[in-house]
């Protein structure tokens, strides 16, 4: 008979971490989160039904809130969303097989937290700047402005391509400036893929918690310098989602 429940793994933590009784996991109703311990490690898990698909917005939010909430008080290695194993024995096997590597990684994240900085261009201002800096684009803009799309399709495509390429180049430069500005204050940085065609910058930073204020102040200054053109957002503190790749198990 097919198994009907499995254990959803949220993250790997030091063995002295324990979930609060009301910590809510994925699933509907939300699963009860518990810790399975092995040596110096523990895995935060909850039971999930294998007949109900997961991945609802509430599931993603529950996963992130639990993992980030843990990261605020203890180092955590997030386990990729959707990882479900057969039961407690499988979790113990996992912790046993990679005990030392996980423990070393957790040591590395002790007292450190991730922040993600995400900047997005003001579309109108950016396009205006591109037109101002490129006479050919400005000429194309004159040709298409106020004319029907069907009649000016070729010019529109060319104009859009120029704008698109200009955005890409500016984005690359902007990302470098962001990393240069914050690099001296952080343990590590990692680029993130743009998530929108108007993305100006997107990068994750691993920050020592005792330099958190300094880091946030620097991001504030970065944002202030660009406020006319870029809307800058700071996400965090987060679990080190973008810094566990070095610890991924490739088998």
């Amino acid at each position: 008979m097919a198994q009907e429940t499995g254990l959803f793994i949220y993250g790997i933590v030091p063995s002295d971490v324990e979930p609060t009784p009301d910590a809510a996991g994925v699933g509907d109703p939300p699963g009860e989160v518990s810790a399975i311990r092995h040596g110096e490690l523990a895995a935060l898990v909850s039971e999930v039904s294998l007949t109900e698909p997961i991945g609802r917005p509430a599931d993603l939010s529950a996963y992130q809130e639990l993992v980030d909430g843990t990261a605020a008080v203890a180092p955590v290695l997030p386990v990729r969303f959707g990882t479900v194993v057969t039961g407690p024995d499988a979790v113990a096997d996992l912790l046993d097989a990679h005990h030392d590597r996980f423990a070393a990684a957790l040591d590395e994240f002790e007292g450190r937290i991730q922040y993600t900085v995400h900047g997005r261009y003001d579309e109108a201002k950016l396009i205006g700047a591109v037109l101002a800096g490129d006479p050919a684009a400005a000429e194309l803009a004159e040709q298409v402005r106020g004319h029907e799309e069907a009649a000016t399709r070729a010019q529109r495509i060319r104009l859009g391509e120029i704008i698109s390429q200009a955005v890409e180049l500016r984005r690359e430069a902007e990302n470098r400036q962001l990393v240069d500005a914050l690099g001296p204050l952080v343990v590590a940085s990692a680029p993130r893929a743009p998530s929108n065609e108007m993305d100006a910058a997107n990068a994750a930073f691993l920050v020592d918690q005792d330099r958190e204020d300094e880091f946030v102040a620097a991001v504030e200054e970065y944002a202030e310098q660009r406020r006319e053109l870029i809307r800058t957002r700071l996400l965090g503190p987060l679990a080190p989602y973008d810094f566990v790749s070095a610890h991924q198990l490739t088998g």
């Binding site: 509430a58 909430g69 800096g133």
Partner: protein, 171 residues
């Protein structure tokens, strides 16, 4: 520290994404991240059914180009409006020069430009990653779970406490 709340000080330039971050932020933050369980243990990994999760990516396409051109109409953008942005009108070469060299912040930084380019140029609608990276706007029709978007906030604010750490309590 000048920023201490989710919204920042009045007039502050920086938005803080806190507990109330949007579904898009959640998807971007957690999707495809985290430790991957390896083959040694994967016999015990259950093939759970994951709902299709759509994330937005940047795809340079004809549609994008046409949309940019529409924006030129929509905003009535003219270069004359840009007098207040002298540092931005130097064109592409200027933007590149200002980038400067990347230095001293670890090996991942060197791949930045390349990574961005790969994503921008490499993912067409037929690409292998499309299940998790479909453009939310362009491929909305294909999203069989589109109703989820309308209810995205419905379940989000469940009370949830943080795990505690024994070590902290003992102090």
């Amino acid at each position: 520290m000048t920023v201490s709340t989710n919204q920042g000080p009045p007039g502050g330039a920086l938005d803080r994404g806190g507990a109330g971050s949007s579904l898009a932020d959640v998807v971007e933050t957690v999707l495809d991240k985290g430790v991957v369980i390896d083959a040694q243990v994967s016999v015990n990994v259950v093939g759970i059914q994951l709902l299709e999760i759509n994330a937005r990516i940047t795809v340079a396409s004809i549609e994008t180009y046409l949309r940019f051109a529409q924006a030129v109409d929509r905003f009535d953008i003219t270069p004359e409006h840009q007098a207040g942005l002298p540092d931005l009108v130097g064109g592409v070469a200027g933007a590149l020069d200002e980038g400067g060299a990347v230095s001293g912040v670890g090996g991942t930084v060197g791949a930045l430009g390349g990574a961005v380019r790969d994503v921008v140029g490499g993912l067409g609608p037929g690409d292998q990653d499309r299940d998790q990276h479909q453009d939310r706007d362009q491929h909305r029709d294909r999203d069989q779970h589109r109703d989820r978007d309308r209810h995205r906030d419905r379940d989000r604010h469940r009370d949830r406490d943080r795990p505690r750490r024994r070590r902290d309590e003992e102090r």
